[in-house]
């Protein structure tokens, strides 16, 4: 969808992942889309070099978030939001509706 603008589909997936889940690390994104970790890390590095994302070490993992100081952040989020509206229901369920924290104990099903 946006790969013509971003250059490849991996970077599009990385951006949509961060837009949806607000944060992520390489292995998590790689597992989510079943894409090689190396490919994901290359794109995260590219985005970090460009100031689009920033990272922080948490334990043994490096966690990435959008850079709140990125000058085009609002525009980028608008673009990604629009792109998310066009993602099929099947893809939404498969890639963008995953639980990121444990289910609350005792919560009714």
């Amino acid at each position: 969808m946006l790969e013509a603008i971003f250059g490849n589909s991996t970077i599009e997936k990385v951006l949509l992942f961060l837009y949806t889940y607000k944060e992520g690390y390489g292995k998590q994104i790689s597992d989510n889309f079943n894409i090689s970790l190396n490919g994901i890390q290359q794109q995260l590095q590219r985005l970090e070099e460009g100031g689009v994302v920033v990272s922080q070490k948490k334990g043994n993992t490096r966690l990435y978030v959008f850079n709140p100081r990125y000058v085009f952040l609002k525009e980028l989020e608008n673009l990604l939001g629009k792109a998310m509206n066009l993602v099929s229901e099947k893809e939404l369920q498969k890639y963008y509706r995953k639980r990121t924290r444990p289910r609350k104990k005792g919560k009714p099903l």
Binding site: V54, R62, V65, R69, Y70, V71, K74
Partner: protein, 133 residues
């Protein structure tokens, strides 16, 4: 030039050193983030890193940082094994995630150099932007 003790250096002195190093090599650098709060609050708040927005790509500033013993660790990150603070470099312009980049900054001088940094007001806005995002 006297040897700088990176093990015991304060954030403000380190900011002076980094700012002077970059400035003398023609690189514009603006200190943003928590380090500004540390400076304005006289260490009441302690940041663990120094975030700079710089006019040149990281690969161009790398040799100047290596001369003062800061080595590249990640795409934008430089560390010195002795120093407790690490350095992060972000590309221009200085922005708080809004459409208009910030163009007016403060300058502070210390024994190591002149620091260009966010004004106190923009510093607070910057922290809020980071917090809320």
């Amino acid at each position: 030039m006297k040897q700088i003790d990176l093990k015991n250096i304060s954030i403000e002195d380190l900011a002076g050193l980094i700012s002077r190093t970059l400035r003398k090599n023609g690189i514009k650098a603006v200190l943003v983030g928590g380090a500004c709060v540390t400076i304005y609050s006289h260490n009441e708040y302690m940041s663990g890193d120094l975030d700079y927005v710089v006019s040149n790509p990281v690969k161009e500033i790398k040799p100047f940082l290596e001369k003062i013993d800061f080595l590249q660790e990640g795409p934008n990150r430089f560390v010195n094994t002795e120093c407790e603070f690490y350095l992060e470099f972000l590309p221009y312009p200085v922005s708080l995630g809004e459409s208009s980049p910030i163009e007016n900054f403060n300058e502070m001088q210390n024994q190591n150099g002149t620091i260009t940094l966010l004004s106190p007001t923009d510093c607070v806005k910057d922290r809020l932007a980071v917090y809320y995002h």
